[in-house]
Structure formats: structure tokens, C-alpha cells
């Protein structure tokens, strides 16, 4: 069974008396350990698809089956619970809570799951190590650089070991060098930790790290031919 199955997904909304259809009968299947990127011009519906996939928005019609559960039929409260258990969200602007330390920000998704404090500590330590920020655990967001903030955001997204990690323009607010480091980190999540990733971006370099590259064109989803991800190629060269 596929991890995610999107069937005939349509999203319409009205703007100035005009009906806009950013997604028109979209179909998509995501398998476990897949790494997908979604590109498209501004306003093409990339973020809309991501929002529907994470259950923070509702489609006009169609189904989104995750592990066989149609999330479009869940209540708002059930969706929140479902997100806590299944979705890791990496935001463009990090969206760290300014009054909480890096450690406490990473802990947030774990507070939604039934687990002991010891288990939480263990998982946070692993997540901090994965993003190489163990020594910044007690720092507040204002004491971190933009790249460090995004790494904390990534640690927060992966700490609960979600079914799928989604990223909305994860390098959009970063300079080129820091963006490169973040992309390497994201690629490692898939290659080394086997996480399923869905990245929305308008940056071709960011999209190129994904094994499956999708394009939104006038409400239709088009998948380009399979190509070896850039970062994976780099890793392959390093190993060689």
C-alpha cells in the first residue's frame, strides 16, 4: 500500500468574484522513503497542495489517503491529532517560538505524543545531534543565526519520527551558502534516516536534491523524468 494516495484532488476559491482553481483533479502517489520536490511559479498552488497534504486546509473535492485513512474526512480536532503523529513541518520562516529555547522548541511535537520524559530527552538529544546543534540546546531563537534557526526547525520536524516531513520553501529565507548546508541536511534525512520528504520550492537547486521532481502547471501535476539527486551524486563522489 502506498504511504500517501491523492485522488482527484481539486481546490477552488473565490477571489474578487472570480473562481480560481490552483489544483484541478490532481493525482499523486507517495511511497515510503520517497523524496519529492514540487516546483512551480508563485501562486501556482504549491503551498496549497502542501497545506492540503498536512490537513491545515480542506480540498473542494477529492481524497487524500495516508496509510489508507482519508484525512479530508477528519474533524479539525482529529486532524490536529493526526498531524501531531504523522507530519513534520519545516517552515520557510522557521516559526520557532521565541520564548522557548532550541531544546524546548524541539520538544513541542513530543509533548503531543504519549511518551515518558526520559524518552523525550533521548529523542531530542538524537535530533539535536542530527542537526549538529547539541551545544546550542539552551539558546533562544534570538541567540541563533538564520541557518541555526532553520536547523532547529528541522530537528523539531523530525524529532517525533513522523510519517512524512513536509518543507515549505525551506531555504527561502537563507543565503546561498547556508541554503546549501540546509539542503544537504534535508537530503541526509532521506538518504540516511529513510524519511519520506515532500519539499515545496521555487528554487531549482533546492528541487534538484529530490529523487522525484514535480511541477504544477495550471492546476495539473506533472512529474519530470527520474534523475539522480544532486546531493546524492555528491555523496556518491565523496564515497568514491
Amino acid at each position: 500500500m502506498p504511504l500517501v494516495e491523492i485522488r482527484n484532488l481539486t481546490k477552488q476559491f473565490s477571489k474578487g468574484g472570480e473562481t480560481i482553481t490552483p489544483l484541478n483533479e490532481v493525482d499523486l502517489t507517495i511511497e515510503p522513503r520517497d523524496f519529492l520536490s514540487l516546483m512551480g511559479p508563485s501562486g501556482s498552488g504549491k503551498s496549497t497542495l502542501l497545506n492540503l497534504l498536512t490537513g491545515i486546509d480542506r480540498p473542494t473535492s477529492g481524497q487524500i489517503l495516508v496509510h489508507g485513512t482519508d484525512i479530508t474526512r477528519l474533524s479539525r480536532a482529529r486532524l490536529a491529532d493526526w498531524r501531531a503523529a504523522n507530519i513534520g513541518y519545516i517552515f520557510q520562516t522557521h516559526n520557532l517560538i521565541p520564548v522557548l529555547t532550541a531544546y524546548e522548541n524541539i520538544e513541542l511535537p513530543l509533548l503531543l505524543l504519549p511518551m515518558t520524559a526520559a524518552e523525550r530527552r533521548k529523542r531530542i538529544a538524537i535530533a539535536l545531534e542530527a542537526v549538529d546543534l547539541t551545544d546550542r540546546a539552551d539558546h533562544y531563537p534570538r541567540q541563533l543565526s538564520g541557518g541555526q534557526e532553520q536547523r532547529v526547525g528541522i530537528a523539531r520536524a523530525i524529532v517525533a519520527n513522523p510519517t512524512i516531513v513536509v518543507a515549505d520553501e525551506p531555504t527561502g529565507d537563507l543565503d546561498a551558502r547556508t541554503a546549501g548546508h540546509i539542503l544537504q541536511l534535508v537530503e541526509r534525512l532521506n538518504a540516511e534516516l529513510g524519511m519520506t520528504l515532500f519539499v515545496v520550492t521555487h528554487d531549482p537547486q533546492a528541487a534538484s536534491v529530490a529523487a522525484r521532481r514535480l511541477q504544477l502547471d495550471e492546476g495539473r501535476l506533472v512529474e519530470s523524468e527520474a534523475a539522480a539527486p544532486v546531493a546524492a551524486l555528491d555523496a556518491g563522489r565523496r564515497r568514491a
Binding site: 491529532d81 513541518y89 516559526n95
Partner: protein, 388 residues
């Protein structure tokens, strides 16, 4: 299904320090509001208590029919005590002494502390007075002889003078005659505490009166108030009436109902102002955090959990304000004497006052937080994530 998981407690606490100036101003505003509530409730509690503790169910007051509930305007014959002693069998008697206290009650100006004369409540009494005024206790000095007076615990407050001015050994002046203060008394918060007690003959001379205002009669355990009332009705020629002392003060209490109503209106108005302070703060706190609150929901926190966290912040601030106000009220307000028409009483910051004051404070926090929290939670998560 997962149960409702709340945001960490620290999130709410630390958010209060995010805008220290705004939080500080709101804390000061709420503290002032709650303190005002404490003062008004302490006033009402003190007023109620002073009238409630005044009066003994076994004591009857006999005074003139035309005086209604105003003993000051009552005038009964000077021989009435003897008549009552001779006619009523139910009067308590011990060691040959009848529990019958002839009294002259007057509000007039007396000289205190070399200052201009001040309005005081005076009572002319005999040594029988403590037999029927059982709450009265000497706290200092001794019972007054001719040319001496006793000062109640709150007499200075009623007179509007320093308490030291009524120290034992000092003098007060009535009708050009000096009276030495021989002692002080307390009466457990009863209305007498604001009075100055003279020997009956001295006050009659000072007021140029031969009659009495009332006679207080102590009844024996098995005696009935009806016996006294029947006597009063039979002796039409005396023009007297009798009422239980507790009923008399209950009637006085009912006269103060408009004052109490006004007090509660003030509490509501002050609390209403406090709600706006809370609303202002919480709207300010929510407006700048749209994206953060949306992100928390995107992570998986339910709307209700996020809303509860906002309410927690406001209630926490209100609880801090209530605590500060309660400490100030206990330290500065409790026991403060208030001059009030024919008496004085002490403001009472008791457990009921604390409960009402702190409850109002917490309610202000709650009411101030709910509308902004509801408004914030109505915003769709998708829009919240785009918020600047």
C-alpha cells in the same frame, strides 16, 4: 484518539515577559482595580459586621414611640428604669442588681486635643451598662467617675482626630466643662466602639436634659420580649415602645441597603474598567503572534489548547495582580477606621473580602482573555502562517 495536550506552562509564563512594559502597566492597572474592589468590599463587610455584631438577642430597647428607629430623637421619663424594674418579672437580676441600663444618647460637638470642637456620638451610662452591653470590654484604665469619660476603640476615627488625642489621662470638653479620659473600651466591632461614654448625670447636665433616650433591659433566659412589649402597650401614658436590640440594628442595616447597593455598583463599574485593561493587553498579545499561533496548530496543537494557553497567560497576570492587591489590602486597608454618619467602623479584609476580591481579579483575567483568544482561533491556520 489522543486527549487534549496543553502547551507547556513555561510558554504562558514567559510570554508575559515578552512585552515587559505592557505587562507591567497591565499588572499595575489590574492591581489598582482589584485593590479598589477590596476597599469597597471591605467597606461593605465592615459596615455589615459593625451592625451585625451590635446587639444582644436577650436585650430589649425601650424608647419613645415617636422616635421610629432614631434613638437620638427619643425622650423617655427619667423614672422609666424604676418602673420597668418594678413591673417586669422577666428582667434578669443577679446579686440584687437589675439588668436595666438607663441611657442618654446624643450626637454633639466636643472639644478634643485643643482643636476646634468635633462631632461625636456620646452615651450617658450608669455602671449597669456593661450588664446589658455584654460585648463591652475595658482595654485600658478604669470605669469613669464623675467628671471622667470612657473612649471607645474607634472614637478617634469618628471624631476625626489622632488616636493619641483620646489617650487615658487626656481631656475632652463638653459645654465648657473638661472631662478626663479614665479608660478605653472595645466592643468586638460593635457600633458602640465609636462612642464616648459619660456618666449619665454628667451628660444630662452637659446636654441640659433631665430625661433619657432609652432604657436597655436584659431579659432572663426564660423571659419573653412580648412581656416588655405588652407593658409598653399598656402604658400608653408613657408613649414608649420596645424592640429587641438585634432587630433594632437589623432595621438600621436595612436603612443602609442603598449604600450597599451603591457599593456593589461601584465594584461592578471598577471591574468593568478592569476587563478593558485585560482585553487591551490580550488583544495586543495576540495581534503580534498570529503566525506563531498558527505554527503551533500546524505542529499538531489543537485550537483549544492554544486558546487555553492564551487564557492561562491572562489569568496568571490577573492572579499576580490579585495577590499584590491582597497583600496591599491586608497591610494598608484592613482595620482602617471609617467615619460613617452616627458611628465609625473598621474596614474588614476578611476571608470573604479576599475571596470576592481575588475572584473578581481572576474573572477579569478570564473575561479579558476569552474574546482575543476566540478571535485568534477563528483565523484559519493557512492565513495565520502568512501573517507578518
Amino acid at each position: 484518539m489522543l486527549k487534549l495536550r496543553l502547551l507547556p506552562w513555561e510558554y504562558g509564563v514567559r510570554n508575559l515577559f515578552r512585552r515587559p512594559a505592557r505587562t507591567g502597566l497591565t499588572l499595575a492597572g489590574l492591581t489598582t482595580v482589584v485593590l479598589l474592589v477590596f476597599v469597597v468590599v471591605a467597606f461593605l463587610r465592615g459596615l455589615d459586621a459593625s451592625l451585625a455584631v451590635t446587639g444582644d438577642p436577650s436585650t430589649m430597647l425601650v424608647y419613645s414611640v415617636g422616635a421610629a428607629e432614631d434613638i437620638e430623637s427619643s425622650a423617655v421619663p427619667a423614672q422609666l428604669p424604676a418602673l420597668l424594674s418594678a413591673s417586669l418579672e422577666g428582667i434578669e437580676r443577679r446579686y440584687g442588681t437589675d439588668y436595666v441600663s438607663p441611657e442618654l444618647y446624643a450626637a454633639t460637638r466636643i472639644g478634643v486635643d485643643d482643636d476646634r470642637p468635633k462631632m461625636a456620638v456620646l452615651r450617658g451610662v450608669t455602671p449597669a451598662a456593661p450588664l446589658v452591653r455584654r460585648q463591652v470590654q475595658m482595654t485600658e484604665g478604669r470605669w469613669p467617675q464623675e467628671g471622667e469619660v470612657l473612649a471607645g476603640r474607634l472614637a478617634a476615627a469618628k471624631l476625626g482626630c489622632r488616636p493619641e488625642a483620646l489617650a487615658v489621662g487626656n481631656t475632652v470638653t463638653l459645654a465648657g466643662r473638661e472631662f478626663r479620659i479614665s479608660g478605653r473600651f472595645a466592643a468586638g466591632g460593635a457600633a458602640y466602639e465609636s462612642e464616648v461614654w459619660f456618666p449619665l448625670a454628667d451628660l444630662q447636665q452637659g446636654m441640659q436634659r433631665q430625661d433619657l433616650s432609652l432604657v436597655a433591659v436584659g431579659l432572663a433566659g426564660e423571659a419573653s420580649a412580648a412581656e416588655v412589649q405588652l407593658f409598653c402597650m399598656e402604658r400608653v401614658d408613657l408613649g414608649i415602645q420596645a424592640i429587641e436590640e438585634t432587630k433594632y440594628y437589623a432595621l438600621l442595616q436595612s436603612h443602609y441597603r442603598p449604600v450597599r447597593t451603591l457599593g456593589w455598583v461601584v465594584v461592578c463599574l471598577v471591574a468593568g474598567a478592569g476587563i478593558f485593561a485585560g482585553l487591551n493587553t490580550m488583544y495586543g498579545a495576540v495581534v503580534g503572534r498570529g503566525r506563531e499561533l498558527a505554527a503551533l496548530q500546524a505542529i499538531g496543537f489543537r485550537r483549544r489548547a492554544v486558546a487555553l494557553s492564551l487564557v492561562q497567560e491572562a489569568v496568571l497576570l490577573a492572579a499576580a495582580a490579585s495577590l499584590v492587591a491582597a497583600l496591599l489590602a491586608v497591610a494598608l486597608v484592613h482595620g482602617a477606621a471609617i467615619r460613617f454618619t452616627m458611628s465609625a467602623f473598621a474596614l474588614q479584609v476578611d476571608s470573604v473580602t479576599l475571596l470576592i476580591g481575588c475572584g473578581t481579579g481572576l474573572l477579569l483575567g478570564l473575561l479579558g482573555a476569552v474574546p482575543p483568544a476566540v478571535k485568534a482561533m477563528r483565523q484559519p491556520v493557512v492565513e495565520g502562517l502568512k501573517a507578518v
